[in-house]
């Protein structure tokens, strides 16, 4: 075999190892979740009973699935005006200016803060604020977690949309200006429609981030294993229940946590795939 072939084979084997890694991951998660699905069937997904007491064990993931979706959707709603404004600030109003560079760097730095530090900041700064505002007594809950998640996903929501907004061709915008449109009208009628798919895709990817966030949410959501009744209620997410209960987990309970991990992996995979699909289709 000549060196050309050897190099090509090494590269190919490397790429194959990634596929094996991913396949192995899915198989491991499936294998680990078999006991709990054998015992409860699909009820595991649709039941809201979570009781680890020995002898009366019952596991249903619904409270965590609901908790995950509510916190992430709420986070996206809070994040939306902030992220869209930042994208317009960076990609339209102050494009190429010094101030845009500074703000852009600061937004990027948001992505660098570790999740646990967000959790600490949420616990010592945001939580007392929420108590003071009278939203709820302890300050823990869905809303507190969503605010922190919203801050955490701002850089993900802005990165692609800023790029797409700044790529909107100038001649289109100038055509609108020449007809007497104001800047706002240009943004609403030219820039945003042109950049729509990129903006939507970046919010989907940000949503995917929020779904899997663990530490910050674990520290703020209150960790109650029931379906929350409102946004100021305490709750639990799929990621945070794994982090919280993994330590003492064995047997069926461990299997239940793995099954939640499998569901979380599938949900984030689908959401991210969907985001990538939109980017590919409209790019």
């Amino acid at each position: 075999m000549n060196s050309e072939k050897i190099t090509k084979n090494i590269l190919f084997i490397a790429s194959l190892s990634l596929i094996m890694l991913a396949t192995g991951m899915v198989l491991t998660l499936i294998q680990g979740s078999i006991p709990v699905f054998q015992k409860f069937g699909l009820n595991f997904i649709f039941s809201n009973k979570w009781n680890p007491t020995a002898g009366r064990e019952q596991y249903g993931a619904l409270p965590f699935i609901v908790g995950t979706i509510i916190t992430s959707v709420l986070a996206l709603v809070i994040c939306l005006p902030l992220a869209l404004s930042t994208s317009l600030f960076l990609g339209e109003y102050y494009k190429g200016k010094m101030i845009a560079k500074i703000i852009g760097t600061l937004v990027d730095l948001l992505a660098g803060i570790p999740s646990i530090v967000y959790g600490l900041w949420g616990f010592y700064f945001l939580r007392p604020l929420i108590v003071q505002l009278g939203f709820n007594a302890q300050g823990y809950g869905i809303f507190t977690s969503s605010v922190i998640l919203a801050i955490m996903i701002i850089p993900y929501a802005t990165s692609i949309s800023t790029e797409i907004i700044s790529l909107v061709p100038n001649d289109l915008k100038e055509a609108a200006y020449s007809l007497g449109a104001t800047r706002l009208e240009v943004i609403l009628n030219v820039t945003i429609p042109m950049a729509r798919s990129g903006i939507v895709a970046s919010y989907i990817l940000a949503f995917g981030r929020a779904l899997g966030e663990t530490m910050a949410v674990t520290m703020l959501i209150g960790n109650s294993n029931v379906i929350p009744k409102g946004i100021f209620d305490m709750g639990n997410t799929m990621a945070s229940v794994i982090a919280n209960q993994f330590g003492e987990a064995e047997g069926l309970k461990l299997s239940a946590l793995i099954a939640i991990g499998l569901l979380l992996f599938l949900i984030t995979g689908i959401i991210n795939g969907f985001g990538k699909f939109i980017i590919k289709k409209f790019a």
Partner: protein, 283 residues
């Protein structure tokens, strides 16, 4: 009359964009300011050279109004150990897969590999912790270990490096590579002598960003490395890490003061890596 209304709306919108953008960057400034204010007084020589104190020592110091003795040496060495081992696998493998994707960009199989890499990039870190727990903790080290922690960090780093490698190589003018091929240079030498040196700054940026991403990871390490009150360099033994220590301090009322200094240290480390990476990329 109508024109006045339109221009008022235009100005109002611009004002809102500016205000919301400022709101979006407020948290990063508040967080960094808060960490400096509360953490700087605990940072001294022993912070870097001594292991974490036990809760008794911390309580005694608190009662005497002194700063808490000890440091986070066991966390720093643990983070260093686990991130190094993860880099040792993830960097070369990620580069190889990235090069493969670049060389075979059009192939259907490469598209699958790229999609899998994207899915892995979106996978929640806690799920990666579950996987490493099953593969390494249960089957290889038969107990919590640094190796298991490294494994979860490796899976996190891989897709980041793969993506940045492919993106970097795509930017290199094809003529440079073809010039080498025309001279009959063997393929592996093209990679080592042409592609990697030409794309060096881009590749370094990708690696630094991947490092800064895993340095602050807490959730997967809770499931794999667990923590250790002492300095440990044994790859098959439980090991601490800076984020794990923060979590431990957070759960111990006597250690609260150490939370801020450790977080400050971690955030400075991560943000510095981030800024260096951006600086290199800008060149």
């Amino acid at each position: 009359m109508k024109g006045k209304f339109r221009s008022a709306k235009n100005r109002l919108f611009k004002g809102m964009v500016i205000v919301f953008s400022l709101v979006a960057i407020t948290p990063i400034m508040l967080i960094v300011f808060d960490l400096f204010q509360k953490g700087i007084k605990q940072i001294n020589f022993s912070f870097f050279t001594k292991i974490a104190p036990d809760t008794w020592d911390a309580m005694t110091a608190l009662n005497h109004g002194k700063i808490i003795p000890g440091g986070i040496l066991n966390g720093i060495t643990g983070t260093f150990l686990m991130v190094s081992v993860a880099s040792l696998i993830a960097i070369p493998l990620g580069l190889l897969i990235g090069i493969y994707l670049y060389e075979n960009a059009e192939k259907r199989y490469a598209g699958v590999v790229r999609d899998i890499s994207d899915i892995l990039q979106g996978a929640p870190s806690i799920v990666l912790g579950l996987i490493a727990y099953f593969w390494i903790v249960k089957n290889i080290t038969h107990g919590f270990s640094a190796l298991a922690g490294s494994a979860s960090l490796t899976i996190m780093m891989l897709p980041l490096i793969i993506r940045s490698t492919e993106e970097t190589l795509k930017m290199i003018p094809i003529s440079i590579k073809e010039a080498g091929l025309a001279l009959g240079v063997p393929y592996h030498k093209i990679i080592l002598r042409v592609l990697i040196p030409t794309g060096f700054s881009g590749l370094t940026t990708g690696i630094l960003l991947a490092l800064s991403r895993v340095l602050g990871e807490t959730a997967p390490l809770m499931l794999t490395a667990l923590g250790n009150p002492f300095v440990n360099f044994n790859i098959d033994k439980p090991t601490s890490a800076v984020p794990l220590l923060i979590w431990q301090f957070y759960n111990d009322p006597n250690m609260v003061n150490l939370i801020w200094s450790s977080s400050l240290f971690l955030v400075i480390l991560v943000l510095t890596l981030n800024l260096i990476a951006k600086q290199i990329a800008a060149k």
